[in-house]
Symmetry: none
DNA sequence: TTGACGACCATAAGGTCCCATGTTATCCCA
DNA sequence: TGGGATAACATGGGACCTTATGGTCGTCAA
């Protein structure tokens, strides 16, 4: 598999270490990035993490704006400036810096959430709440799409 | 055959394993996806499952919305975040995670239901009830749309 | 020297692989 | 066409490996 999916809740040990779920490690290994690239999510109490695919996305976002523009400076500062590359130990674990733990409100357990090209790190309780909210949103949106699709089908479009 | 059709009810063994019906395995093999992609159905107590065809549908659903939009984030979280890629063992069996079993209310038996490009996994009792309800709905709709459908079929629409 | 950190080792639980068995469906040949 | 051989499939169980997690020891730096 080549994308991050599913979610896993794991505990930090006494030294603050936490295993990256094995399936995610497999994706990272395929992606070819050494370590774990991560930074605080812009509008959520979570940490974005990934490998080269995530880095490429960041870069695309920044290069959208012209050199020396205020927007570019702001993005560069906010994203690159707060990013960390975490070392992955021989057992596949990382240690989250205190700044990232504080941003996400993480104490002794974390939830990993696959989002395709990247994954997020949440405090388990907040993650459950966020997931419930997102699920509600999706249900509502899908209902909207449903009626549009139904109208479409009525013309005889088959699949 | 390249579509999931028919339904099968199979039992879970003591280790929680369940065979994927052989006809479905054949479809998955043709589809070329390694493993079984699945996630909790949004508005039913069931699990949606399939291969690349299902994954493509999910992706299409997500990419309908622009990057960085709230809608897209919600879809990504709710769909990728709750998806699982189950490993299929050498005998063609999978183990459903507890989260999926809980969502569908599955204990010791499950019903596989073919829906074309994907299939669903139900608790057998709930499936029977759902099927009865759907049959009633279809009967009513068919009666109501009978003349329109007949006219449509006359153009050569198959099936 | 002490404390933080990284490399290495240990272990229990769960997952995966492999082999075995009974039952059903399919095929083939008389 | 009938019946036996054969293959496919669902199911069961045991051995082994992976993973998550905990701990120890040495090293480097403040």
């Amino acid at each position: 598999m080549d994308r991050f999916v599913s979610n896993y809740t794991l505990r930090l040990d006494a030294k603050g270490r936490v295993s990256i779920p094995a399936p995610y490690r497999a994706v990272l290994a395929r992606d070819g990035y050494e370590g774990l690239y991560c930074y605080p999510a812009l509008d959520q109490p979570a940490v974005d993490a990934g490998g080269n695919a995530l880095l490429a996305e960041i870069e695309a976002l920044i290069t959208r704006y012209p050199h020396y523009s205020d927007e570019r400076d702001a993005f560069t500062l906010a994203l690159y400036g707060t990013s960390e590359t975490l070392k992955i130990d021989t057992e596949g674990r990382v240690i989250l810096p205190d700044t990232l733990k504080a941003h996400a409100g993480i104490a002794d357990a974390i939830s990993f959430v696959g989002l395709g090209h990247k994954f997020q790190i949440w405090e388990p309780g907040r993650f459950r709440a966020q997931l419930a909210e997102a699920t509600g949103t999706v249900r509502a949106l899908k209902k909207q799409l449903g009626s549009r699709v139904a109208a479409h089908e009525a013309h005889g479009a088959r699949e």
